[in-house]
Point group: C2
Chain length 319, copies 2
């Protein structure tokens, strides 16, 4: 009997799809990618992924060595194996991803959303190793989350649990892409940081390096660049963002009392500029029984590998 | 070998401790109680409980028929088996409840807090039967909660998960007994309803049946009595309370995507007066993917039996 020592991982993004073969230690043995946006027809997309990935597999021991295939995708549902009405993907309606790839490769396929995949990746290979209770928060264009309780990912009754980016930070606050108002994501994502910058620049006359950039063009990267040069307004933007996150985290802790909250994504590059206010305001807002107990950590996954590793980690659990 | 067909359940409250023998169908075969407040010395309390409960056991088949003993208590911790610094109990510091009763009776003993016990009771005997994902909310003097994900109670890394009554409904809002401000509990408990009544009566000149009661004496029961007589201000109080709960529930759903939120406790006596605004405002605030999916139900446990049944249900899971 051949030992099935490797798994496949794939992350489907609106622009690119990246995939790879991963071993049990979390090393990516081989990887590749296709342009998602180039395939408005889903069957063409599947053929293209199959062709590239199959070539990788054949060069690395063959399909007999592969235990399973984990896929992270926007709106990916663990229970149904589908992606459903994902706004940033070219294919409309429900796509039975797991079924299709399972038939193509003849191995078990699991699907979940990208933030859940990140949480499983962190638990298997990263900062969540050995933890049975933690919350993964991804701070990117949006705010995603994956929740682990008692060593298991929380999928909820319909597979869509863990939408913490859409809990309300400010009632009747900023309009969110989801149709609601005041969602955490509108304040604490990279986009949220840019919105905060715009608001602060419009509402005050305070001097700032950011005033040299047209309002509509300011990104979270610009705010970071200004902050590390000591720009006071830029520092205030990170303080505000961290405060908003810290306050939200205090409520998340009251829900599942995690050992740690693990942060991933572009905004974590700000380091202590974002981490310090998060910790300060989380502690300030925690119930006494939770104080000085909950770690806030940065992910230990490399940016470039995290998406594939996270998705691949799901494959170890498949039957 | 004797079939261990029954369990013991006990609920420790600040005033009374109630206990009983429960069969696998959730029938309380025999029950009794002692006055918690009468025993400032914990050893005396244990002796008194042991004496009463042992007499019940001997009259009902003997200790050989008992599988285990579940205890619900304020600040009860499932992992340590202790109650720790419970403000409403006569004993200070940490009390190793599970250890002590396990030695006394020679059977496994499990401890958790009252809201978690209610959730396990509901899952075993009540409205949560057959559900793997639901949230129990107790609306009493305070607001408690027990969260079930994937068929398991969420205890968190320290045993204290599920403090949803202390998530923030209004930033810098009403001062809470926990030391924080704006907690859900300050608005949506029986005490919160009385505070809302007081505020509305002070801030408006609106006519109301409640004006015949001294402000400091108004209870949630008074508000209910006025509301069913059609008193507009009293109806507004329930609308406000239900709205606050519904908004909070929308965030809870984003966390764990439960099949149902199950309500227990005094305020549920208000029936549709509280349920209708809860449902309306929860739906209004849900992410599109969660809309029209999540049930809001009243508990199916009888008030008088729920505490003992809930605690007893924990005993079936003990090893």
């Amino acid at each position: 009997m051949i030992n099935k020592q490797n798994v496949l991982g794939m992350d489907i993004g609106g622009t690119n799809t990246v995939f790879g073969i991963v071993d049990a230690r979390g090393t990516i043995i081989a990887s590749g990618s296709v342009k998602t946006a180039k395939y408005p027809n889903f069957d063409d997309y599947v053929d293209s992924v199959y062709e590239s990935l199959n070539a990788l597999i054949n060069k690395n021991g063959g399909i007999e060595t592969i235990k399973g295939f984990g896929i992270g995708a926007p709106n990916g549902n663990y229970y149904t194996g589908e992606i459903a009405f994902a706004p940033n993907l070219p294919w409309k309606g429900r796509i039975p991803l797991a079924d299709i790839f399972s038939k193509k490769f003849g191995i078990p396929v699991g699907v979940t959303n990208d933030a859940n995949a990140a949480a499983i990746g962190e638990m298997t290979y990263g900062a969540g190793r050995g933890m049975k209770d933690f919350i993964m928060i991804t701070l990117g264009t949006g705010v995603g989350s994956g929740i682990v309780c008692n060593g298991q990912l929380v999928y909820g009754h319909d597979g869509f649990a863990g939408e913490l980016g859409h809990t309300v930070s400010k009632r009747n606050g900023r309009l969110c892409g989801c149709g609601k108002s005041g969602c955490l994501e509108t304040y604490a994502s990279a986009t949220g940081v840019a919105r905060t910058a715009k608001e602060m620049l419009e509402l005050t006359k305070e001097n700032s390096l950011l005033r040299s950039i047209p309002l509509e063009d300011i990104t979270s990267k610009d705010v970071f660049d200004a902050a590390i040069q000591g720009d006071k307004l830029a520092l205030n933007i990170f303080e505000f963002t961290g405060k908003t996150l810290g306050e939200a985290f205090a409520d998340f802790v009251a829900f599942s009392s995690p050992e740690a909250i693990i942060l991933f994504g572009g905004l974590t590059k700000a380091g202590p500029l974002i981490l310090d206010p998060i910790k300060e305001h989380m502690e300030k807002n925690l119930l006494p029984i939770f104080k000085n107990k909950v770690k806030v950590l940065f992910s230990e996954m490399k940016d470039t590998d995290a998406a594939v590793l996270g998705a691949s980690a799901l494959a170890w659990e498949l039957k």
